[in-house]
Amino acid sequence: MDLIISDLSHHIRLNKGFFLWMGFLTLAFLACLFAYIQQLKYGLGVAGVRDYISWGLYISNFVFFVASSLIGMLISAVLGLIGMKWVHPITRIAETIAVAFAAVAGLVIVMDMGRPERLAYVFLYARFQSPILWDVTVITTYFVISLLLLLLPMIPDMAVLYKRFANLPSWLKPVYKVMSLNWSDHPEQNRIIHRSIYILLILIIPAALSIHTVTSWLFALTVRPGWDSTIFGPYFVSGAFVAGSAAVIIAMFFFRKNYKLQDYLTDLHFNNMGKVLVLVAFVYLYFNINEYLVPGYKLKRADAVHLRELMSGHFALMFWLVQVGGLLIPLILLLFRRMRKPLPLTMISVVVLIAAWFKRYLIVVPTMSHPFLPIQHVPENFKVYTPTIIEVAITLLSFILVLMIITLISKFFPVIPLVETAKDKGLDPLKSIQS
């Protein structure tokens, strides 16, 4: 038992590596914050977005963030509820990713606002009919549920570590004490926590499906080519699982290496996550074929322009790299067992995740660049969207924030559910704290 505690918690301390990493993140954060201050001062004009292509990096990034946050639901709720025991060590990683991305997704929207000080108007003048209101609502709800799903299973862990982990930094002790909620493994306490988690796991499924479906409706409720699609909801959701699974695999790899968790995040977990990735990638491929083949067969005029731009025009290189290099080839590679070993799987996941980001760009930008009414009498930079350095820096800012949140959560709390792992191994860590 003590071995498990020390294995899973030895990283909870302030060491040089942590300061170096956080220092680096903070510096990068400040540099990117400067870019955002420029945007606040001079307006959205410092970004490449203009009247016609008014959604660029920021909105693509927003969709990517919402997508990545969806994985929490797949791992904890879907796989957890159907009784997959092997997901237990991964659930907290998945929830951490969900919380971090969902928290920052809202900020990404604020970054895309020309007058962020008028944010309150979104709520003051909200319209029930507007998918934007629905989006704000479901993202907030999903964030809260994910946060609860991260915190509730931690309660017993906090109690055990507070009492039994000798090396717990003293400044963290009060935090752990508050978070443990006087846990004493009382049957009534167990009943409450199990029931609560069970309700949350059920609740998070519709909430998660809604957040990405509603995000897809921000596009699909228009008549524009490339967005005017009835399958946009499931198309986005399945794409989200691809991005999220890749993110979880990458995070697993880093935690395993840095926190020395080889005994807990084993090859089996990577193998299984690889299989999950294959499954969701197949579903996503299926939706991709639908999404491009159906309009491509009919070739309505506007769709024809859109598809030509994607497949042989301005966006062709990015499109084929993303579709073939970022989805099809990884999918085929992952069919082989050797490729689902930790290192190759992580490398493939990195490619998949990067492709997933560019995929969001391909969904957002090309449609905006050919509206129904022709673009005329405007300067050249209104017609072709080119992200500016400031825009890229602000986008990086959001990634830095996500990394900071993930770092803080994973550094000061056990990455792997402690009590659950012990119980899976037939130990009862709570006996010792019953007093």
């Binding site: 003048y125 909200a126 319209r127 029930f128 009919q129 209101l133 629905w134 609502t137 709800t141 809260v144 549920i145 609860l148 509730l152 309660i155 909620l181 006087n182 846990w183 004493s184 493994d185 009382h186 009534e188 306490q189 409450i192 926590i193 029931r195 609560s196 309700i199 949350l200 609740l203 909430a207 005329q376 009498h377 405007v378 300067p379 019953q434 007093s435």
Partner: protein
Amino acid sequence: MKRLLYILMLLAAVATRVEAQNPGWPVPDDQKGKICLVKFTPDMVKGGEAIYTKNCQSCHGLPAKKNFAAITPSPGDLSEPKAGTQKDGELFYRITTGKVPMPEFRNILTEDERWNVIAYLRTFHKGYVQPDPEKMAGTAGKRIKLSMTYDTLKKRIMVKAVELSKEGTKPAKGAEIMIFVQRYFGAMQLTDPKPTSESGYAGFDWPQDLPGDKAGNIIVSARVNDPTGSLQEAVVSDTLAIGVPTNKPALTDTRAMWSVSSKAPIWMILTYTLAVLVVWYFIIYIILSVLDIRKIKQA
């Protein structure tokens, strides 16, 4: 005779094409000298400012603020010498005819309104002196007065044109009359122009299916077709109850997807509110019950 007319029209079409391709946007010589027949007054300037902000500002920006739209060809700031050095007649012609992408305001603003806009713009042009209407009165041309009645039996609009002169009045023969009905933006021309008869009358069969307001009212106006601008503006306008009474609620009056939140469809408000209430009921319930854990102590 008719063939000659066609050839002339063809030539005119070719000429306008050539003119449209000319980047200089030339103004015909006989239009340059056109002037406003009254002295600009503060009221005209005020009226012109209101018209300007509604119709011109979106592209030209506010005069002297240089905040015109970044489109090609550049609309430019109208307080600049480029506009300031133009004669009244030139400005008037350009507002009247427009040139892509600038719309033509011939049927959108009346002559008076166009002059008001010029009066407003002139307040930004230093050193501008308005040509004296009194001295120029000779070039003002004929004055024609129109009146309009509706013949309920024959269902026709009758427009009467009378020529005014120092010697008195006489029916204006051969004046080309156009009639318009008012719609949301500008006026819609009905049928082709017709010349007045010997007795100064022109009759227009009234279409029986034009929608009016609740009482069937339609604003009808008639004016003399005056492409050369040699007449003092001859216009008559009247509200006549000759349309089909239409009582359609405005699109934003009913509950609809596109309305404001208070006019959202009931089912939408209910669905949204119920979903939020149900989910948040559980979330708050869970938070409260989890906080209760603190109070439970091992016996």
